[in-house]
Symmetry: C2
Subunit: 312 residues, 2 copies
C-alpha cells in the first residue's frame, strides 16, 4: 500500500518503520526541519525492543509536497491535534479522490477538521495502545507491545478499512476492526480528559494526583460530563467501567508518568491539545445545551496558563 | 473598652496599636511563640506611616488564657479562617456572657463557626480596607489609609455595635456602621473568590491574570455562582457592579500584587483559606441545591495542590 505518514515523531516513526519493514511504500512528511534533515541523511534510527534498527524512506516538509508529486492511498496522521488544520492546508496535494485518511490521535472532534479535506467515507478513525518516544531528531525508542483499533467513519469506507487492517496485521501492528470505534475513542478521551489537564495544572504525575483526596470526585464529575455529551453522539459510556479504567492508572506502572499535556505545558512551554479533549466536550456541550462546567473551566485554566508562560 | 485582639499578625497589630494609643485596655493573643516572645520583650514595633512607633501590651499564647483570668468586652478576630475553630476552642475562657466578637476576616461563613462560641446577638461582622504587613516577629509595616464597615449580626447587638463604632472612631480606624454589611462581605468575597484561587492556581499576579483572554468569562461565571448563593441568604448582588469592581484591580496599582492565597500556597506552602471563600459557596450551594461547579472545582484544585506540596 502507498502510505504517507504525516508527523514523524515517536509514534509516526513507529508506524512508518513497521509498515516499511512489511514491504509497504511509505513516505514521510514532517514539519520540523532538523528532524527532516536527520532522517534524510541517516533514516529513522530506532531502538526497537533493544535492537538497533534503521530505515531510509523519502521525507518531505509540508512546503515540498506540492512539487514532489507524492500522492497516497492512505495517509496516517500523527500530528498534534492543534497542528491538524495548518498541516492539511499545506499538504492538500497528497489527497486524490481515492485517498483515505486514518486518524489515531487522542481526543475528540478531529473528524470535524478532517472532513474539510477528505470525504466522510474516506475517513477512518481509531485509537492505538502502542507507545513511542523521541530521543532526538530521527532517533526513537520503540519498546513494548501495543495494538490498534479502527473503523471507517461512514459505512462505504468499510472495505478499505478492512484492507488497512490486513496491511497493519502483516506489519505486526496488531490491528482490530472495531464495530464501535467511537466508544473506544470516547473511553480513551476520558483518560486524557482527566489526567492530562489535571496533572498539567497541578504539576504532578499520575500517581501523585491519584493520591489526592479530591481525585475520585473530580474524575467522576468530568467523566459524567464526557458521558452526557457522548450520549448525544450515540455513544453510551459505562461511567463506572470508565472510572475504574482511569483510576487503575493511579497504581499501575504508568503511575510515575507525566501525561503529555504536562510535558507540553509545564516542561516544554508548548501549546496543548486541550481544545480536542475537554475543550471539545465543552464546545459540544454548548451546542447540545448540556452543562459541562468542569470541562469548560479546565480548558480555560489551561489556556490561561498557556498565555501566562508564553506557550508556542 | 476592654479589648482582646486574637491573632497578632500585620492587621491584628494595626488594630491593637491604634486602639491602645486611643486609651483602650488592649490584650493580645497569638499562636506563634516567637512573635509572643518578641512582643513581650519590646512591644509591637511598627513603621507607622514612616514613623517608628512601639507599644507594649500584655500578650498571651492560647494555652495561657485560662490561667491568665483575662476576659474581654470585645474580641477582635484576625486569625486565618482555618485557625478559627482551633483557636476558639483554646481561648473559650476569654468569653463571658457580655463578651462580643467582631470578625473582620475575608470570606464567608465565619459566623457558622463563631456561633458555636458566642450568641448570635453578641456577634458583629464586618470588613476592612486597612492593610498591614509583617516584616518579622513583633515588627509590622502600617502604611496608608483604610476604613472599617461593621454591623451586628442579630438586631439585639446594635447598641454594642454602635459603641464599637464610637471606640474605633476615636482610634482613627474610620469605622462606618452598615445597614447591610452582609452585602459588603459578599461583594468583597467575590474579589477573593476570583483572584485568590485563580492567581494561586495559575501562579501569577493580578495584572497578569487580568491579561488572559479567559479572565472575563471565568470572573463572570464565578461571580454568578456567588450571586446565586448570596440571593438565598438575602443578599442581592449587583453582578455587573461586582464584576467591574473586580476587573478594576487588573489595571489598578495592586495589579502587580500576588493575592494572599498565592502567598500562602505558592510562596509559603501553607494551607489556604479556600474553604471560607469558594469552598463556602460550594458548600452552601449544595445545601440550597444551587449548582456551583466553578467554586467546587476551584476548591478541589486548591486542596489537591495543598496535598501535593505538603502544605501545613
Amino acid at each position: 500500500m502507498k502510505i504517507t505518514v504525516l508527523g514523524v515523531g515517536g509514534m509516526g516513526s513507529r508506524f512508518a518503520l513497521m509498515l516499511h519493514q512489511a514491504g509497504n511504500d511509505v513516505t514521510l512528511v514532517d514539519g520540523w526541519q532538523t528532524n527532516i534533515d536527520a532522517i534524510r541523511q541517516d533514516g529513522i534510527q530506532a531502538n526497537f525492543n533493544g535492537k538497533a534498527v534503521s530505515a531510509k524512506m523519502p521525507i518531505y516538509s509540508p512546503a515540498e509536497i506540492e512539487k514532489s508529486g507524492v500522492q497516497a492511498d492512505l495517509i496516517v496522521v500523527f500530528l498534534k491535534s492543534n497542528q491538524l488544520k495548518t498541516m492539511f492546508d499545506q499538504v492538500k496535494a497528497l489527497i486524490h479522490p481515492d485517498t483515505y485518511v486514518l486518524c489515531l490521535l487522542n481526543g475528540i472532534g478531529h473528524e470535524d477538521v478532517l472532513e474539510q479535506y477528505v470525504a466522510k467515507d474516506h475517513l477512518i478513525l481509531g485509537i492505538t495502545m502502542w507507545t513511542a518516544g523521541m530521543t532526538g531528531p530521527g532517533h526513537v525508542e520503540l519498546v513494548g507491545d501495543g495494538e490498534v483499533e479502527l473503523q471507517n467513519f461512514a459505512p462505504a469506507g468499510k472495505d478499505f478499512a478492512l484492507q488497512v487492517v490486513n496491511v497493519f496485521d502483516k506489519a505486526g501492528l496488531h490491528p482490530k476492526y472495531s464495530e464501535n470505534v467511537k466508544y473506544s475513542i470516547w473511553r480513551k478521551a476520558c483518560v486524557n480528559g482527566t489526567l492530562n489537564c489535571l496533572c498539567a495544572l497541578l504539576d504532578c504525575n499520575i500517581g501523585q494526583f491519584g493520591k489526592t483526596k479530591e481525585a475520585p470526585d473530580m474524575l467522576h464529575t468530568i467523566i459524567a460530563e464526557f458521558a452526557a455529551v457522548a450520549a448525544k453522539e450515540g455513544v453510551k459510556l459505562d461511567q463506572t467501567e470508565v472510572y475504574n479504567h482511569v483510576a487503575a492508572t493511579f497504581t499501575a506502572n504508568i503511575a510515575d508518568h507525566y501525561p503529555s499535556m504536562h510535558q507540553d505545558l509545564v516542561q516544554h512551554h508548548r501549546l496543548t491539545e486541550i481544545d480536542f479533549i475537554d475543550g471539545a466536550v465543552a464546545r459540544k456541550g454548548e451546542k447540545y445545551d448540556i452543562p459541562t462546567p468542569y470541562c469548560k473551566l479546565l480548558t480555560q485554566l489551561v489556556h490561561a496558563k498557556e498565555q501566562l508562560i508564553g506557550a508556542k
